[in-house]
C-alpha cells in the first residue's frame, strides 16, 4: 500500500496569507521526500525536496519541514498568491521510484 498520505484534501486561504500543507509517512527508513505542484491539465512540477538528515529546507517563498520523530513533513508557502492554486503532492523517493500521496487542493481567495 501507499506509504505517504496527506491530512486534508482541500485547503482554502486568503491571498497574501501563509499556507501550510501537511503530509504523513509511514516508513521510518524513508530518507528523501519531494513536494510537487500540479496545476489543472498539467503534469506535476517539482517544488522542493528534503533529505532525512535535514529538518528544514527553504526555497523561494517555500519551506519544507521534516519531523522524523512523528514521521511528518509540511510545505509552507509564504504570501500565497492566486498562481499558487493547485494540487500539492508529497512524494517519497525509494531508490528512484516515487510514491505519491493523494494530494491537497489549495485554493487562494482574492
Amino acid at each position: 500500500g501507499e506509504s505517504v498520505g496527506l491530512h486534508l484534501p482541500t485547503l482554502s486561504v486568503q491571498e497574501g496569507d501563509n499556507s501550510i500543507i501537511n503530509c504523513a509517512y509511514s516508513n521510518s527508513a524513508s530518507d528523501y521526500f519531494i513536494w510537487y505542484k500540479q496545476e489543472s491539465g498539467k503534469g506535476p512540477q517539482f517544488i522542493i525536496d528534503i533529505r532525512s538528515n535535514m529538518d528544514k529546507r527553504q526555497g523561494q517563498r517555500v519551506t519544507v519541514l521534516l519531523n522524523k520523530t512523528v514521521k511528518h513533513l509540511s510545505l509552507q508557502i509564504a504570501a500565497t498568491q492566486p498562481g499558487d492554486s493547485a494540487v500539492y503532492f508529497c512524494a517519497e523517493n525509494k531508490g528512484g521510484k516515487l510514491i505519491f500521496g493523494q494530494g491537497t487542493e489549495l485554493s487562494v481567495k482574492p
Binding site: G43, N93, G96, K97, F100, Q102
Partner: protein, 115 residues
C-alpha cells in the same frame, strides 16, 4: 530546454478497444517513467526504463498494458484491450539518471476516457 512531450493530449475510446500513447523525454535523460493518475489520486508508477531496458514494471498490468523504448529515447505505452477502470491521465516523466535524488520532470499527460 524543451520539456517532456506527450501525445495525444486527450483520447476517448470504447472498452475493449486498443490505444497507444507516445512520450519524448528531455534530451539526454536516460531514465523514462510512465505513471497512471486516476482522478483525485496521486500518480502511480507503471514502468521505469533505463535507456532501452526495463528497470521496474512490477505495477504494470501485463495482461493488457505494454510499453517499449526501443532506441532508448522516445517511448510508447499501449493498452489492449482497454477497460473502464483504465480511464485516467497517463503521465510520462524523465530524469537524467535514476538516482534517489535525481529530479523527475513530468510531461502534460494524456487524458484517457474509456466508455
Amino acid at each position: 530546454e524543451a520539456g517532456v512531450a506527450q501525445s495525444p493530449r486527450y483520447k476517448i475510446i470504447e472498452k475493449r478497444q486498443s490505444v497507444a500513447f507516445w512520450c519524448n523525454p528531455i534530451s539526454g535523460h536516460a531514465t523514462l517513467y510512465w505513471y497512471q493518475q486516476i482522478l483525485g489520486q496521486g500518480p502511480k508508477l507503471l514502468i521505469q526504463f533505463q535507456n532501452n531496458g526495463v528497470v521496474d514494471d512490477s505495477q504494470l498490468p501485463k495482461d493488457r498494458f505494454s510499453a517499449e523504448r526501443l532506441k532508448g529515447v522516445d517511448s510508447t505505452l499501449k493498452i489492449q484491450p482497454a477497460k473502464l477502470e483504465d480511464s485516467a491521465v497517463y503521465l510520462c516523466a524523465s530524469s537524467l539518471i535514476a538516482g534517489v535524488t535525481d529530479t523527475q520532470y513530468f510531461g502534460p499527460g494524456t487524458r484517457l476516457t474509456v466508455l
